[in-house]
């Protein structure tokens, strides 16, 4: 029987990758953000996941507007990062878990979702930076990957309610997986930030706190907003919260907050990190 050990939620700002590459994590600008991770590392040491199912959004590396899936599930044996346009150092490759990917896809389609399936898929900083943050010293990633991309770029975006339902369907798929894997769920991006328009630089700490307080105990409250409500409250790119909502949905048991960190700003973003442990329901 597989086990869903919990969820890790974190921002994925490209500048975090640059800071890691430069080794400036302890400098005053960065330290308050990176200080959020030792508790995550301690939790990972005891949770010992071997697979990560990651909800994230592609920033124009793998997907362009010629074909823009609302939900896309990777089913590749291996995933690579590539130049995203800035010539930055590339992230390490990722080993896939195609059997588990197809199990999830079977279950999703069987549950009336219509995902795009990808046997070749480049993954960008929004997936790789959380891995760098979780496993900073790893020569190779200690977990296999199932990537699930959510469209947060081109409207209409999927509703928060649909993203939560997607996550719950993924959680149900994982529960029905026969393998011995220990599975961690990641949700990346956010929290409030806006890069475009006259409101660029918008940050809403009160709303972010509400999201952090609500995500674990009552995700349905977050799912009752629509995507434009989130944009109004959290900024255009704050809508990456959809990845967090979907990831929360995949935690099917009783969740307990292990740690959280919230720091403003990293680049233009209110940066947040949270771990929710997932206590599986005891079989009757």
């Amino acid at each position: 029987m597989s086990t869903i050990v919990g969820g890790i939620f974190t921002s994925h700002v490209p500048a975090i990758g640059a800071a890691i590459a430069k080794g400036v994590q302890q400098e005053p600008y960065w330290k308050p953000f990176f200080d959020g991770f030792p508790p995550v590392h301690r939790w990972l040491e005891q949770a010992k996941p071997d697979v990560a199912v990651v909800f994230y959004n592609d920033h124009g590396l793998n997907f362009f507007l010629d074909k823009m899936p609302t939900f896309a599930v990777g089913a590749a044996p291996r995933y690579e990062n590539a130049d995203e346009g800035w010539g930055l150092p590339l992230f390490k490759p990722f080993e896939g878990a195609p059997d588990l990917s197809w199990h999830i896809i079977d279950h999703l389609v069987g549950s009336d979702f219509d995902p795009t399936t990808c046997q070749q898929m480049l993954v960008d900083h929004s997936l790789a930076i959380p891995f760098e943050l979780c496993w900073p010293e790893a020569a190779a990633w200690p977990v296999k990957l199932v990537p699930i991309a959510i469209n947060t770029v081109q409207h209409p975006l999927p509703s928060p309610r649909r993203c939560l339902a997607l996550g719950r369907a993924v959680g149900a798929a994982l529960e029905s997986w026969d393998g011995p894997e220990r599975i961690v769920i990641l949700g990346t991006g956010g929290l409030s930030h806006q890069l475009d328009g006259e409101r660029a630089g918008f940050i809403n700490t009160a709303y972010d706190r509400h999201c952090l307080d609500t995500l674990g105990p009552d995700p349905d409250t977050l799912a009752r907003q629509d995507a434009l409500d989130i944009i109004e409250q959290a900024g255009s790119q704050g809508v990456e919260l959809l990845n967090w909502i979907a990831a929360r949905g995949a935690l099917t048991g009783r969740v307990e907050e292990v740690t959280r960190n919230y720091h403003v700003p990293i680049s233009n973003t209110a940066a947040a990190t949270m771990v929710l442990a997932n206590e599986a329901p005891v079989p009757a």
Partner: protein
């Protein structure tokens, strides 16, 4: 705890509405901006970034940019690029060629100096103390 209303339908709201200062990249914008965004997407390849740097006009020709898009690119006018259908996730690649950080891009759109824009971001720290 989950409230009983959680399983009910989401409230019906208009599909689009105006959020001041906040572009919504919808189907109309994606249609209008296709050429510009396609050009920006091509910059994932370093050879294409080099070709743009070497001859900006010729590179814009290759992607058949509209006059409005060409003008905005020539003027380094971020709000103009967005008005012409540019999406910030793709425009960020062009901004990189121009040597602009996201703070530079933010300052340019808000009419603030870069220092003032960064200071405004830092000012939120007090709310988290």
């Amino acid at each position: 705890m989950t409230s009983p209303a959680a399983s009910g339908p989401a409230p019906r709201r208009p599909l689009s509405r105006t959020i001041p200062g906040t572009p919504i990249f919808d189907g109309a914008a994606a249609t209008q901006g296709y050429a510009l965004n396609a050009m920006c997407f091509s910059f994932n390849d370093p050879a294409n970034r080099e070709a743009f740097r070497a001859d900006e006009d010729a590179y814009c020709d290759r992607f058949d940019l509209t006059p409005q898009q060409r003008r905005a690119v020539k003027d380094r006018d971020i709000l103009g690029m967005i008005a012409a259908g540019g999406n910030i996730y793709y425009l960020a690649k062009l901004a990189g060629i121009f040597g602009l950080s996201v703070q530079d891009v933010g300052a340019a759109q808000t009419g603030m100096s870069v220092e003032a824009f960064k200071a405004a971001l830092l000012a939120h720290q007090e709310e988290t103390a």
